[in-house]
Subunit: 207 residues, 2 copies
Amino acid sequence: MARVEAEPGGPRRSGRRPAGSGTREAILDAARAAFTQRGYDGASIRQIAREASVDPALVHHYFGTKQGVFTEAMHFPFDPSVLVPEVLAGDRSQIGERLARLFLTIWEDEQARGPIVALIRSAVTNEQAATMLREFVSEALVARVARELDAPDAALRPPLVAAQLVGLALLRYVIKLEPLASADPETLVAAVAPTVQRYLTGDLGPG
Amino acid sequence: MARVEAEPGGPRRSGRRPAGSGTREAILDAARAAFTQRGYDGASIRQIAREASVDPALVHHYFGTKQGVFTEAMHFPFDPSVLVPEVLAGDRSQIGERLARLFLTIWEDEQARGPIVALIRSAVTNEQAATMLREFVSEALVARVARELDAPDAALRPPLVAAQLVGLALLRYVIKLEPLASADPETLVAAVAPTVQRYLTGDLGPG
């Protein structure tokens, strides 16, 4: 780790943040950026420390392992225990539109979509990140929503919604497939809302 | 590269395939397996050569760079110029069901879904692979389908279908989210067919 200091372009020791106020947050900000850009396997404690201008030992001190930083950094900027009841409350026939608009609104903000992009980038090649994504969808969304829905096949419904919304996030924000990537958010809300609505409350067909 | 031979568990030189009959295919098989399991960034020429029991120099000889192997290995096991007209032919009101069943049938075969899994795993962190996925969706599917569809917003329709189907493939085969992962294929065909149908021929709503 001492080699970092000798590298051209690396932070000077004097420029490093000390432990203490704001340092933990600075590390988490750097970690979120690193995981968002490079995924779990591509990011390293050393890079995160460099970008946060701290000694790598401090990252280990605060978070233990890379997995520890990842878990903390991936805290979503919204709390499903607050948002899910909000989406479920109100007219049940508009739930698809409310849910589609909620996600597209959050994702339009580049900072706010960091965790989902990071989680997608990481989960496709890293089993721990895949477990986090599974648990997030299963526990935070599926369990809560399924409990509220009075519909057959309640367990299959939220994962179908997740497949639609994660697929949209993947192609729009990660792969940047046109014309999806530059489409107006409200155009996409209108397009996917009936899908989300049917997956949650409608007929899933025979089979 | 010579170090490979000295590694424990590495192939013995005498066990290596010579150039010639079947070798090119053996390299492509090993490459498909490597890209499927580890994505573009995680796979290496050295590993691919080891798994194909050939000298790494032979991989370079046949395919040049890692990008060259990737492009060849990612040839899809189906030809869109044959399949798209088949799906578009026949009753237009059943096109969603035919397309959903076509993809789910291909993907149920672990070998056949290799390229889409490899492409998803690679495209999320690698710009060249993302370009390949964009071009595949845009040229092979979007252009062909949009040309045939007599509907407003024809350019947006196939990418919406792609978002749904790629999202389903991602959560079912890569992330393995239950109960999607173990759901009967026909249950999923029934669930997503109306979505695909609406994206291709139906009302995309205001916006």
